[in-house]
Protein backbone atom coordinates (compact mmCIF):
# COMPACT_ATOMS: atom_id res chain seq x y z
CA UNK A 1 0.00 0.00 0.00
CA UNK A 2 1.32 3.46 -0.89
CA UNK A 3 2.26 6.06 1.73
CA UNK A 4 -0.64 8.24 0.62
CA UNK A 5 -3.18 5.50 1.36
CA UNK A 6 -1.54 4.85 4.75
CA UNK A 7 -1.92 8.56 5.58
CA UNK A 8 -5.54 8.59 4.38
CA UNK A 9 -6.58 5.52 6.40
CA UNK A 10 -4.52 6.21 9.52
CA UNK A 11 -5.65 9.85 9.66
CA UNK A 12 -9.29 8.83 9.13
CA UNK A 13 -9.10 6.22 11.91
CA UNK A 14 -7.54 8.75 14.29
CA UNK A 15 -10.15 11.43 13.56
CA UNK A 16 -13.02 8.94 13.91
CA UNK A 17 -11.75 7.69 17.27
CA UNK A 18 -11.52 11.29 18.52
CA UNK A 19 -15.18 11.84 17.54
CA UNK A 20 -16.23 8.58 19.22
CA UNK A 21 -14.25 9.43 22.37
CA UNK A 22 -16.27 12.62 22.83
CA UNK A 23 -19.49 10.59 22.97
CA UNK A 24 -17.98 7.92 25.22
CA UNK A 25 -15.58 9.34 27.85
CA UNK A 26 -16.58 11.20 31.04
CA UNK A 27 -16.87 14.95 30.40
CA UNK A 28 -14.35 15.79 33.15
CA UNK A 29 -11.50 14.11 31.20
CA UNK A 30 -12.00 16.43 28.25
CA UNK A 31 -12.91 19.63 30.06
CA UNK A 32 -9.52 20.01 31.79
CA UNK A 33 -8.37 23.67 31.37
CA UNK A 34 -5.10 22.78 29.61
CA UNK A 35 -6.93 20.53 27.13
CA UNK A 36 -9.54 23.23 26.47
CA UNK A 37 -6.77 25.80 25.94
CA UNK A 38 -4.90 23.64 23.42
CA UNK A 39 -8.11 22.83 21.53
CA UNK A 40 -8.98 26.56 21.36
CA UNK A 41 -5.64 27.66 19.95
CA UNK A 42 -4.12 24.77 17.98
CA UNK A 43 -6.33 25.38 14.91
CA UNK A 44 -5.11 28.99 14.51
CA UNK A 45 -1.43 27.99 14.72
CA UNK A 46 -1.87 25.00 12.42
CA UNK A 47 -4.00 26.74 9.77
CA UNK A 48 -1.68 29.78 9.72
CA UNK A 49 1.39 27.56 9.37
CA UNK A 50 -0.32 25.77 6.48
CA UNK A 51 -1.28 29.06 4.80
CA UNK A 52 2.35 30.20 4.98
CA UNK A 53 3.79 26.91 3.73
CA UNK A 54 1.21 26.56 0.92
CA UNK A 55 1.65 30.16 -0.27
CA UNK A 56 5.37 30.84 0.06
CA UNK A 57 7.43 27.63 0.00
CA UNK A 58 8.40 24.98 -2.52
CA UNK A 59 10.22 22.01 -1.01
CA UNK A 60 12.81 23.51 1.33
CA UNK A 61 12.89 26.90 -0.43
CA UNK A 62 11.04 30.12 0.28
CA UNK A 63 9.53 31.36 -2.99
CA UNK A 64 7.50 34.37 -4.09
CA UNK A 65 5.14 33.66 -6.99
CA UNK A 66 1.51 33.94 -8.06
CA UNK A 67 0.35 32.03 -4.97
CA UNK A 68 1.47 34.84 -2.66
CA UNK A 69 -0.22 37.44 -4.90
CA UNK A 70 -3.37 35.30 -4.85
CA UNK A 71 -3.19 35.10 -1.05
CA UNK A 72 -2.93 38.89 -0.72
CA UNK A 73 -5.98 39.32 -2.95
CA UNK A 74 -7.84 36.66 -0.92
CA UNK A 75 -7.03 38.47 2.34
CA UNK A 76 -8.37 41.71 0.90
CA UNK A 77 -11.54 39.97 -0.30
CA UNK A 78 -12.05 38.34 3.13
CA UNK A 79 -11.58 41.72 4.85
CA UNK A 80 -14.34 43.08 2.57
CA UNK A 81 -16.56 40.13 3.64
CA UNK A 82 -16.67 38.53 0.20
CA UNK A 83 -18.31 35.07 0.07
CA UNK A 84 -16.06 31.99 0.07
CA UNK A 85 -16.50 31.23 -3.62
CA UNK A 86 -15.61 34.82 -4.61
CA UNK A 87 -12.48 34.70 -2.45
CA UNK A 88 -11.33 31.50 -4.19
CA UNK A 89 -12.17 32.79 -7.67
CA UNK A 90 -10.22 36.03 -7.13
CA UNK A 91 -7.22 34.14 -5.74
CA UNK A 92 -7.32 31.74 -8.70
CA UNK A 93 -7.59 34.53 -11.27
CA UNK A 94 -4.65 36.32 -9.65
CA UNK A 95 -2.53 33.15 -9.71
CA UNK A 96 -3.38 32.54 -13.36
CA UNK A 97 -2.68 36.21 -14.18
CA UNK A 98 0.79 36.11 -12.63
CA UNK A 99 1.49 32.85 -14.47
CA UNK A 100 0.44 34.51 -17.75
CA UNK A 101 2.61 37.60 -17.09
CA UNK A 102 5.56 35.31 -16.29
CA UNK A 103 5.14 33.45 -19.57
CA UNK A 104 5.41 36.75 -21.50
CA UNK A 105 8.98 37.46 -20.37
Amino acid sequence: MSGLWVAVLLGSAGCYLLKLAGLSVPAAWVEHPVVARVVDFVPAALLAALVAVQAATSGSQLVVDGRLAGLAVAALALALRAPFVVVLLLAGLTGAGVHWLGSLT
Partner: protein, 227 residues
Protein backbone atom coordinates in the same frame (compact mmCIF):
# COMPACT_ATOMS: atom_id res chain seq x y z
CA UNK B 1 -44.12 19.61 22.03
CA UNK B 2 -42.23 21.24 19.18
CA UNK B 3 -43.97 24.00 17.30
CA UNK B 4 -44.23 23.63 13.53
CA UNK B 5 -42.46 26.96 13.01
CA UNK B 6 -39.37 25.94 14.99
CA UNK B 7 -39.33 22.61 13.18
CA UNK B 8 -39.50 24.23 9.76
CA UNK B 9 -36.74 26.71 10.67
CA UNK B 10 -34.57 23.81 11.86
CA UNK B 11 -35.10 21.88 8.63
CA UNK B 12 -34.39 24.95 6.50
CA UNK B 13 -31.16 25.78 8.35
CA UNK B 14 -29.98 22.17 8.26
CA UNK B 15 -30.52 21.73 4.50
CA UNK B 16 -29.16 25.21 3.69
CA UNK B 17 -25.91 24.44 5.46
CA UNK B 18 -25.65 21.16 3.55
CA UNK B 19 -25.67 23.08 0.27
CA UNK B 20 -23.30 25.80 1.53
CA UNK B 21 -20.52 23.42 2.64
CA UNK B 22 -20.64 21.85 -0.82
CA UNK B 23 -18.46 24.75 -2.01
CA UNK B 24 -15.80 23.80 0.51
CA UNK B 25 -16.10 20.19 -0.61
CA UNK B 26 -15.26 21.14 -4.21
CA UNK B 27 -12.31 23.21 -2.97
CA UNK B 28 -11.14 20.23 -0.91
CA UNK B 29 -11.37 17.79 -3.84
CA UNK B 30 -9.33 20.19 -5.98
CA UNK B 31 -6.78 20.80 -3.19
CA UNK B 32 -6.33 17.05 -2.67
CA UNK B 33 -5.55 16.51 -6.36
CA UNK B 34 -3.21 19.54 -6.37
CA UNK B 35 -1.38 17.89 -3.43
CA UNK B 36 -0.80 14.70 -5.44
CA UNK B 37 -3.62 12.48 -4.17
CA UNK B 38 -5.90 10.73 -6.66
CA UNK B 39 -9.69 11.13 -6.79
CA UNK B 40 -10.20 7.83 -4.88
CA UNK B 41 -8.07 9.06 -2.00
CA UNK B 42 -9.84 12.43 -1.94
CA UNK B 43 -13.22 10.66 -1.80
CA UNK B 44 -12.02 8.18 0.85
CA UNK B 45 -11.03 11.13 3.06
CA UNK B 46 -14.43 12.80 2.70
CA UNK B 47 -16.24 9.53 3.45
CA UNK B 48 -14.06 8.23 6.29
CA UNK B 49 -12.42 11.27 7.89
CA UNK B 50 -15.34 13.66 7.23
CA UNK B 51 -14.00 16.69 9.12
CA UNK B 52 -13.01 19.51 6.78
CA UNK B 53 -10.12 21.25 8.52
CA UNK B 54 -8.37 17.92 9.25
CA UNK B 55 -8.79 16.84 5.63
CA UNK B 56 -7.33 20.14 4.37
CA UNK B 57 -4.45 19.80 6.84
CA UNK B 58 -3.65 16.23 5.78
CA UNK B 59 -3.47 17.06 2.08
CA UNK B 60 -1.73 20.37 2.83
CA UNK B 61 1.16 18.65 4.61
CA UNK B 62 1.37 15.87 1.99
CA UNK B 63 1.31 18.52 -0.76
CA UNK B 64 4.22 20.35 0.88
CA UNK B 65 6.18 17.09 0.60
CA UNK B 66 5.60 16.04 4.20
CA UNK B 67 5.68 12.44 5.43
CA UNK B 68 2.83 10.25 6.65
CA UNK B 69 3.40 10.98 10.36
CA UNK B 70 3.48 14.78 9.95
CA UNK B 71 0.32 14.64 7.81
CA UNK B 72 -1.59 12.33 10.16
CA UNK B 73 -0.39 14.33 13.18
CA UNK B 74 -1.74 17.60 11.75
CA UNK B 75 -5.09 16.03 10.88
CA UNK B 76 -5.46 14.46 14.34
CA UNK B 77 -4.50 17.69 16.14
CA UNK B 78 -7.29 19.52 14.33
CA UNK B 79 -9.64 16.57 15.00
CA UNK B 80 -9.42 17.08 18.78
CA UNK B 81 -12.11 19.78 18.45
CA UNK B 82 -14.64 17.09 17.64
CA UNK B 83 -13.98 15.32 20.96
CA UNK B 84 -15.02 18.47 22.83
CA UNK B 85 -18.09 18.80 20.60
CA UNK B 86 -19.07 15.21 21.39
CA UNK B 87 -18.96 15.90 25.12
CA UNK B 88 -21.30 18.88 24.65
CA UNK B 89 -23.66 16.90 22.40
CA UNK B 90 -24.19 13.84 24.64
CA UNK B 91 -26.79 15.49 26.95
CA UNK B 92 -28.73 16.77 23.90
CA UNK B 93 -28.60 13.75 21.64
CA UNK B 94 -28.45 10.91 24.21
CA UNK B 95 -27.21 8.37 21.64
CA UNK B 96 -28.30 4.98 23.02
CA UNK B 97 -26.85 1.64 21.99
CA UNK B 98 -23.49 0.81 20.44
CA UNK B 99 -24.43 1.06 16.76
CA UNK B 100 -26.32 4.32 17.22
CA UNK B 101 -23.29 5.83 18.94
CA UNK B 102 -20.91 4.63 16.19
CA UNK B 103 -23.08 6.28 13.52
CA UNK B 104 -23.64 9.49 15.48
CA UNK B 105 -19.89 9.86 16.05
CA UNK B 106 -19.11 10.18 12.33
CA UNK B 107 -21.45 13.20 12.02
CA UNK B 108 -19.85 15.15 14.91
CA UNK B 109 -18.27 18.18 13.16
CA UNK B 110 -18.25 21.99 13.47
CA UNK B 111 -21.45 22.56 11.51
CA UNK B 112 -23.64 19.77 12.93
CA UNK B 113 -22.61 20.77 16.48
CA UNK B 114 -23.45 24.42 15.81
CA UNK B 115 -26.86 23.41 14.40
CA UNK B 116 -27.68 21.19 17.39
CA UNK B 117 -26.56 23.74 20.00
CA UNK B 118 -28.53 26.53 18.28
CA UNK B 119 -31.78 24.54 18.22
CA UNK B 120 -34.49 25.71 20.67
CA UNK B 121 -35.10 22.32 22.38
CA UNK B 122 -33.67 18.75 22.50
CA UNK B 123 -36.14 17.37 19.91
CA UNK B 124 -35.11 20.04 17.39
CA UNK B 125 -31.46 19.58 18.38
CA UNK B 126 -31.66 15.90 17.44
CA UNK B 127 -33.43 16.75 14.17
CA UNK B 128 -30.92 19.52 13.32
CA UNK B 129 -27.95 17.29 14.10
CA UNK B 130 -29.15 14.28 12.11
CA UNK B 131 -30.66 16.12 9.14
CA UNK B 132 -27.91 18.77 8.99
CA UNK B 133 -25.12 16.24 9.51
CA UNK B 134 -26.65 13.97 6.87
CA UNK B 135 -27.13 16.78 4.33
CA UNK B 136 -23.57 18.00 4.86
CA UNK B 137 -22.21 14.45 4.55
CA UNK B 138 -24.00 14.00 1.23
CA UNK B 139 -23.09 17.44 -0.19
CA UNK B 140 -19.49 17.23 0.99
CA UNK B 141 -18.89 13.83 -0.61
CA UNK B 142 -20.54 14.61 -3.95
CA UNK B 143 -18.67 17.91 -4.36
CA UNK B 144 -15.35 16.37 -3.27
CA UNK B 145 -15.67 13.97 -6.21
CA UNK B 146 -16.59 16.80 -8.61
CA UNK B 147 -13.71 18.99 -7.37
CA UNK B 148 -11.21 16.14 -7.66
CA UNK B 149 -12.31 15.19 -11.19
CA UNK B 150 -12.34 18.87 -12.24
CA UNK B 151 -8.83 19.51 -10.92
CA UNK B 152 -7.52 16.37 -12.64
CA UNK B 153 -8.28 17.98 -16.02
CA UNK B 154 -6.30 21.20 -15.36
CA UNK B 155 -3.00 22.23 -17.03
CA UNK B 156 -0.89 25.40 -17.49
CA UNK B 157 -2.49 28.63 -16.33
CA UNK B 158 -5.50 26.86 -14.79
CA UNK B 159 -3.08 24.74 -12.73
CA UNK B 160 -1.39 27.96 -11.55
CA UNK B 161 -4.87 29.20 -10.62
CA UNK B 162 -5.50 26.06 -8.54
CA UNK B 163 -2.12 26.48 -6.80
CA UNK B 164 -3.22 29.97 -5.73
CA UNK B 165 -6.68 28.77 -4.64
CA UNK B 166 -5.32 26.27 -2.08
CA UNK B 167 -3.63 28.74 0.32
CA UNK B 168 -6.62 31.08 -0.11
CA UNK B 169 -8.93 28.25 1.02
CA UNK B 170 -6.79 27.71 4.14
CA UNK B 171 -6.89 31.45 4.86
CA UNK B 172 -10.69 31.41 4.55
CA UNK B 173 -10.82 28.59 7.15
CA UNK B 174 -8.54 30.58 9.48
CA UNK B 175 -10.18 33.99 8.99
CA UNK B 176 -13.24 33.71 11.32
CA UNK B 177 -10.94 32.79 14.24
CA UNK B 178 -9.14 36.13 13.91
CA UNK B 179 -12.27 38.29 13.96
CA UNK B 180 -13.88 40.13 16.89
CA UNK B 181 -16.79 37.67 17.11
CA UNK B 182 -14.38 34.90 18.19
CA UNK B 183 -13.29 34.54 21.84
CA UNK B 184 -9.89 36.18 22.47
CA UNK B 185 -9.25 37.37 18.88
CA UNK B 186 -6.03 39.18 19.84
CA UNK B 187 -4.51 35.99 21.26
CA UNK B 188 -5.72 34.03 18.22
CA UNK B 189 -3.93 36.54 15.96
CA UNK B 190 -0.68 36.25 17.94
CA UNK B 191 -0.90 32.47 17.77
CA UNK B 192 -1.58 32.56 14.02
CA UNK B 193 1.31 34.97 13.31
CA UNK B 194 3.62 32.89 15.49
CA UNK B 195 2.63 29.67 13.73
CA UNK B 196 3.17 31.16 10.26
CA UNK B 197 6.49 32.80 11.18
CA UNK B 198 7.96 29.67 12.78
CA UNK B 199 6.84 27.48 9.87
CA UNK B 200 8.51 29.79 7.31
CA UNK B 201 11.69 30.16 9.41
CA UNK B 202 12.06 26.37 9.72
CA UNK B 203 11.31 25.57 6.06
CA UNK B 204 14.95 25.65 4.81
CA UNK B 205 16.21 23.50 7.70
CA UNK B 206 13.76 20.65 8.40
CA UNK B 207 12.15 18.01 6.16
CA UNK B 208 9.03 19.24 4.33
CA UNK B 209 5.88 19.01 6.41
CA UNK B 210 7.75 18.82 9.72
CA UNK B 211 7.86 22.63 9.96
CA UNK B 212 4.06 22.74 10.27
CA UNK B 213 3.86 20.36 13.24
CA UNK B 214 6.92 21.95 14.89
CA UNK B 215 5.35 25.40 14.57
CA UNK B 216 2.18 24.20 16.29
CA UNK B 217 4.07 22.51 19.14
CA UNK B 218 6.30 25.58 19.63
CA UNK B 219 3.32 27.93 19.81
CA UNK B 220 1.47 25.58 22.22
CA UNK B 221 4.50 25.43 24.54
CA UNK B 222 5.02 29.22 24.44
CA UNK B 223 1.35 29.74 25.35
CA UNK B 224 1.52 27.33 28.28
CA UNK B 225 4.55 29.02 29.86
CA UNK B 226 3.02 32.47 29.71
CA UNK B 227 -0.10 31.50 31.56
Amino acid sequence: MTSDGARRATIRDALGLGVAVGLYGAAFGAAAVAAGLDAWQACALSLLMFTGASQFALVGVLGAGGGVLAAVGSAVLLGTRNTIYGVRLVPLLRPRGGLRRLGTAQLVIDESTALALAAPDPANARLAFTLGGGAIFLGWNVTTLLGALGADALTGASLAALDAVVPAAFLALLWPRLQKAWAEPAAQRRVALGGAAIALALTPFVPAGVQVITAVVAVALAGRWRR
